[in-house]
């Protein structure tokens, strides 16, 4: 079984925000909730790099580890989903997540939170009513059930954001890096290997 992943090629990402609006478009996410966003480091300076971030669908997801109501599920494709029926909006997952993926609608005047919302890898919800209006209303699109990838990656302007079977996107990325012959645009590369990115 494929394990689906996201990979953002920071040598390609130009901070155009297509992934962000594609997500809004596919899932009808309301104002104030951002399942995906683009983060830029060294903004306006040599070495400026951008990377598109959303739920990374971790193998051993920290959000699931801390959830007091155990609302997280990992699908057969390795997508991390959560049940909005179970979620109590406590916000623990927000603190646990290293990527800032969980989002909460603001409910009232005293900062009370609604149920958590995050990227579903365009896989709908965990309840299994694939493609139904009820699923859409609660979780957004279920493109995976139709054999399609998340719209953010499909619409990426420079093909920086890759989605799909981890093996395949790793292969695509490996070929790119070899062809380029310089550095690595992989986000986190510098942190891991202490190499500088050529500009």
């Amino acid at each position: 079984m494929a394990r689906v992943k996201f990979l953002c090629d920071a040598d390609r990402c130009i901070d155009c925000n297509a992934c962000v609006t594609a997500c809004k478009n596919a899932n009808e996410v309301p104002w104030g909730i951002n399942r995906r966003r683009v983060v830029t480091i060294n903004d306006g300076k040599p070495g400026e790099r951008s990377v598109s971030m959303a739920c990374m669908h971790c193998t051993d997801a920290p959000c699931a580890a801390v959830c007091p109501v155990d609302c997280f599920f990992t699908t057969a494709d390795a997508v991390v989903l959560h049940s909005k029926d179970l979620c109590i909006g406590c916000g623990y997952c927000f603190y646990a997540c290293p990527f800032g993926a969980p989002q909460y609608p603001k409910l009232g005047n005293f900062g009370s939170r609604g149920k958590m919302d995050k990227c579903t890898y365009c896989s709908g919800g965990p309840e299994g009513a694939d493609g139904s209006a009820a699923e859409f209303a609660k979780y957004g699109a279920n493109r995976m059930a139709e054999g399609k990838l998340p719209l953010c990656a499909e619409m990426c302007s420079t093909k920086a954001l890759l989605a799909g079977d981890g093996e395949i996107i790793a292969q695509i990325y490996r070929e790119r890096v070899l062809k380029r012959g310089y550095g690595s645009g992989a986000w986190g590369w510098q942190t891991a290997y202490k190499e500088t990115v050529n500009v």
Binding site: D11, R12, I14, D15, C16, N17, A18, C19, V20, T21, A22, K24, N25, A26, E28, P30, W31, G32, I33, N34, D43, G44, K45, P46, E48, R49, S50, K84, D85, P105, K106, L107, G108, G114, K115, D117, G131, S132, A133, A134, E135, F136, A137, K138, A141, L151, E154, M155, C156, S157, T158, K159, R176, K179, R180, G181, V199
Partner: protein, 971 residues
């Protein structure tokens, strides 16, 4: 201002399971259909007053689940934002656009979009669209019906015509029109009796068109976005495609990676494009020509130029050498701030790591010296032999989705459609195509002289309103303004523009959104808003920057009460009394002109630009066979489009039946003209000062004349002994066109296409084979010379590099010299020491009304800002994120914006995006919009601060270098 979500909106949010049931009630009882969609959106046919309801009480359709039981229609259209021309796939159910999919088969975008393209479905949901015709009555917006609105408007227009003449109406059109809409609008102005019909190209690439066309023949991108993949050196100078044309970066970055190509960005600002460059060179704003000459100095000094190319295909390069010799590395560094070695490196790349391409946008064009800038860029390409082959060329990224097509279609004060000009012969050509009497057209104008005189351009329209009778070269000043699809914050000197607005007798804004025009002035009456639908709600063709023409199908019917451009033009023409003549060969269904008939009329008339071959049928076949086109060559393999180039990029010679494949790369002598090959255009005579202007020893593949030759006429065919190859029918048309003198009939006015056909049979390019001109002797500066901006931060340079003398241009005075002298005398640069430049953000487009009304985009950029260097900020005690006043050098102008302290701009330079409006010099104008049609995000317009300065050739405005001061807002 941030839009705070209302609690009530959250209560009904689908994210909350407690209220889920009620939301689902409507959904599960039948998937959303068009009627339910409109009902839920708070609109029913009977409830005409709803346009006035505040948004809070209007519920919009939120969910877009697809019911598998109901068939889904897949419709292909083209993105309505920039000129890249990304295909959009719409999935439509029950007449509602429910889902947007990636168009992987498009060779241009391969499924990709930027933030704007990925959110176009929202335009058709139309949460902040104008819903019905409105008029201003004593300062209040009132709803009225289409018929009443058009009745009142046309009565007022006819009255103005009677009292002041046809020249007193300014027809402002749009680069958002389809080709058909643009062509029709120009035609309407002709039937009204004025040449004052303009559009966004004036303030975008008019200087490119003038500069490029005067160099080698045609005013367009020579290659394509896709072809950039072939380049080994890419120089982007005065452009930020990562934000303005994001999908183009897919081709640029792929080329960079696959060819290990150089990507050089030359710009005053370290742009998001520069972040991906191999070399970045920061120049002082307004010093483009010295920068180019700085490169040429090294090229000539080291004899790196392409001598064979220059000898065969370039006229007047020696005149350029004389000018370049003045630009030693020391002088270049003094004026531009760029060290000689940096430019030497780029010069080396351009000449040794070929093919090299030069890419530019508004940074080059929106200048007092815009045309000269463009000419200098072309000269650099000519000197290095980088034109007319894959991977080379002037890759001019145009702005709007159809600004190339609208320019071609003649929405231009200087020409009839397709660059025929305004001479009597041009009018007679179009009279033949339109099948109306020339004398009728003449009778519509004030005089024959006015008929053949360029109109007032959009950069100067308010000067044309505020002028007195003596200071303007027409019967009366402008009294009325018809605006179709054009923002009100797009021209410089806005405080004076507002005065012009207030002085108008009639203002009509036809647009999906109210636009800045509706709110920025103190007008109380005689102001109309007409809701026009987007291009997704109609069909038609649009020309992308690379000259590929793409057909867009209608996705859904026009929403609310909006109508498409063509219908409104027809209804207006009906009321103005010339519909019958204007639509003689265009079928009308109900009140809607048949779009394909307009395309066919274009085909019948547009020989000069190579638009006759792109019939609607051929264009539709290309859209249906997109997957067959190669992403590098744009050539199709197999199917009915085999061997053709995607979108039949013009020139596509001859009749559609001749099946010309379109021209991927202009002036490419490596191909036969029948395969899209070409030469530089013979347009400027045969010789000058004893030197030939025709090519020498260079010709396109398969040419039977292996040297330069003039443009094809019937007389020339006779001389060559080929006239017998014309068919009888073709000969009859040529005789008719010639009116008894067929010898003078040229390839451009022969309505039969026979001359083009015979020429191509012999391998000749219809427009001839000439040299490109390094010296364009008909322009104000035949060889470009550096001229300081009108408001320069370096007044000491003005004595040596002054702007051009004052002159009358386009019916009015251009007093740039006086303004510059005054600025130096008054030492304006001391009071306003920071250079202000402007540009784009990726989320917004143009004046921004459309994109700031799209919540998916608006959420991403909620504040107007000014980028200021940390040094300048520190000197002024400005913190990042703080509100500041930016003050301008004219009209005591000021703008209250957020400070963004960043090294993206150099010391002494500030940058502001140009998409904002709705705040005016510190005043929030939200309450002035018709209720529910105010964009989510409002902000100050940079053009409040921009100042005087107009290009002598096109009246392009100066938006890229003026002066300002920045200070903290005191509480």
């Amino acid at each position: 201002m941030l839009i705070k979500r209302r609690d009530s909106a959250v209560q009904s949010s689908r994210l909350q399971s407690t209220t889920l049931h009620s939301a689902l009630g409507e959904l599960s009882s039948g998937v959303l259909d068009r009627r339910a969609f409109l009902r839920r959106a708070g609109f029913t046919a009977g409830a005409v007053g709803l346009a006035g309801l505040p948004l809070g009480s209007v519920k919009r359709a939120e969910a877009a689940a697809i019911d598998p039981a109901i068939p889904v229609k897949r419709v292909k259209s083209v993105c309505t934002h920039c000129s890249v021309g990304c295909s959009v796939i719409a999935e439509v159910q029950n007449g509602v656009w429910v889902r947007q999919e990636a168009a992987f088969e498009s060779p241009i975008n391969r499924g990709s979009h930027c933030a704007k393209g990925a959110s176009v479905r929202e335009l058709v949901k139309g949460s902040r669209r104008l819903r019905s015709p409105m008029k201003l009555v004593n300062g209040e917006w009132q709803k009225l019906t289409w018929d009443t609105a058009l009745e009142e408007i046309s009565a007022k227009l006819l009255k103005i015509r009677e009292q002041s003449g046809p020249e007193s109406v300014f027809w402002l059109g749009s680069a958002k029109f389809s080709n058909e809409g643009a062509y029709l609008y120009r035609k309407m102005a002709a039937f009204w009796g004025t040449n004052t019909a303009d559009h966004q190209a004036r303030i975008c690439h008019s200087t490119t068109v003038a500069g490029v066309a005067n160099t080698w023949g045609y005013g367009a991108m020579t290659n394509s976005y896709n072809d950039i993949r072939n380049a080994k050196t890419m120089v982007i100078m005065g452009g930020n495609p990562a934000e303005a044309h994001p999908v183009s970066l897919q081709h640029i970055l792929s080329g960079k990676e696959l060819n290990r190509a150089n990507l050089v960005v030359i710009d005053p600002r370290f742009t998001r494009t520069a972040a991906h460059a191999t070399d970045y060179i920061r120049i002082r704003p307004g010093s483009d020509i010295p920068t180019i000459y700085g490169m040429l100095w090294h090229i000539f000094e080291n004899k790196w130029e392409d001598t064979q190319f220059i000898a065969q295909r370039v006229y007047g390069m020696d005149d350029v050498r004389k000018e370049v010799a003045k630009w030693t590395p020391e002088e270049v560094e003094r004026v531009t701030g760029v060290p000689g070695e940096q430019l030497k490196r780029v010069a080396y790349m351009m000449t040794h790591e070929k093919p090299a391409t030069l890419i530019w946008c508004m940074g080059a064009t929106q200048k007092t010296v815009g045309t000269a800038n463009v000419r200098a860029y072309c000269i650099l390409l000519l000197a290095t032999g980088n034109v007319g082959a894959p991977g080379t060329g002037a890759n001019i990224f145009r702005g709007h989705c159809n600004v190339q097509g609208a320019t071609d279609a003649g929405l231009d004060v200087t020409s009839l459609p397709f660059y025929y000009g305004l001479a009597e012969s041009a009018w007679r050509h179009w009279a033949r195509v339109w099948e109306v009497d020339y004398d009728y057209l003449l009778s519509r104008f004030d005089s024959k002289k006015m008929m053949e005189t360029s109109g007032i351009p959009t950069t100067r329209w308010f000067d044309g309103v505020l002028a007195d009778q003596k200071s303007i070269d027409q019967r009366n000043p402008l009294k009325a303004m018809m605006v179709f699809g054009h923002g009100g914050n797009t021209v410089t000197r806005m405080p004076e523009m507002v005065k012009g607005l207030e002085a108008l007798d009639l203002l009509v804004v036809a647009d999906p959104h109210p636009t800045t025009f509706a709110v920025v002035s103190e007008r109380k009456d005689n102001t109309y808003l007409l809701p026009i639908c987007t291009q997704f709600e109609t069909s038609g063709s649009r020309t992308a920057s690379n000259r590929s023409i793409q057909w867009a199908d209608q996705v859904v019917e026009p929403i609310w009460e909006s109508k498409n451009d063509q219908e409104v033009m027809f209804r207006l023409a009906e009321k103005l009394g010339f519909a019958e003549k204007m639509f003689k060969n265009i079928k009308i269904e109900g009140k809607v002109p048949v779009i394909e008939d307009i395309t066919r009329e274009i085909n019948r008339g547009a020989w000069s630009t190579g638009y006759p071959g792109q019939s609607p049928e051929r264009l539709k076949a290309h859209m249906a066979n997109q997957e067959r086109f190669d992403i590098v060559t744009l050539k199709a393999r197999g199917g009915e489009v085999d061997g053709e180039t995607y979108g039949l990029p013009w020139p596509c010679w001859g009749t559609p039946e001749m099946k010309h494949p379109g021209s991927h790369i202009l002036y490419n002598t490596n191909l036969h003209v029948k395969d899209g090959g070409g030469t530089f255009r013979a347009r400027f005579g045969l010789e000058r000062n004893g030197q030939t202007l025709l090519a020498e020893g260079s010709y396109s593949k398969g040419s039977e004349i292996q040297d330069g030759y003039p443009e094809i006429t019937y007389a020339m065919l006779k001389k060559l002994g080929w006239e017998g190859e014309l068919s009888e029918a073709e000969m009859a048309v040529i005789t008719r066109v010639g009116g008894g003198k067929p010898d003078a009939v040229s390839w451009a006015i022969d309505l039969s296409g026979g001359l083009q056909r015979v020429a191509m049979d012999h391998g000749l390019v219809p427009y001839g084979n000439a040299k490109a001109r390094a010296n364009a002797f008909n322009l104000p500066d035949p060889v470009p010379v550096h001229r300081e901006p009108i408001y320069t931060a370096r007044p000491e340079l003005v004595a040596k590099y002054p702007t051009r003398p004052d002159e009358r241009q386009f019916r009015q005075a251009n007093i740039g010299f006086t303004v510059q002298k005054r600025a130096v005398d008054l030492n304006i640069a001391q009071k306003f020491p920071i250079v202000l430049t402007s540009g784009r953000l990726v989320e917004y487009e143009g004046g921004g009304e459309e994109t700031r009304s799209n919540p998916w985009l608006a959420e991403l950029q909620q504040d107007m800002f000014v980028e200021i260097n940390p040094n300048d900020a520190k000197a002024r005690g400005i913190q990042n994120g703080q509100m500041v006043w930016v003050t301008g050098a004219e009209s005591n102008s000021k703008a209250r914006v957020k400070a963004y302290v960043t090294e993206r701009v150099g010391p002494g330079v500030a940058f502001m995006p140009f998409h904002f409006a709705g705040w005016f010099q510190g005043e929030d104008q939200r309450s002035r919009y018709p209720k529910g049609a105010d964009p989510y995000v409002l902000g100050e317009s940079v053009n409040v601060l921009t100042t005087y300065g107009y290009d002598p050739v096109t009246q392009m405005q100066e938006t890229k270098c003026t002066l300002c001061q920045i200070a903290t807002v005191l509480a």
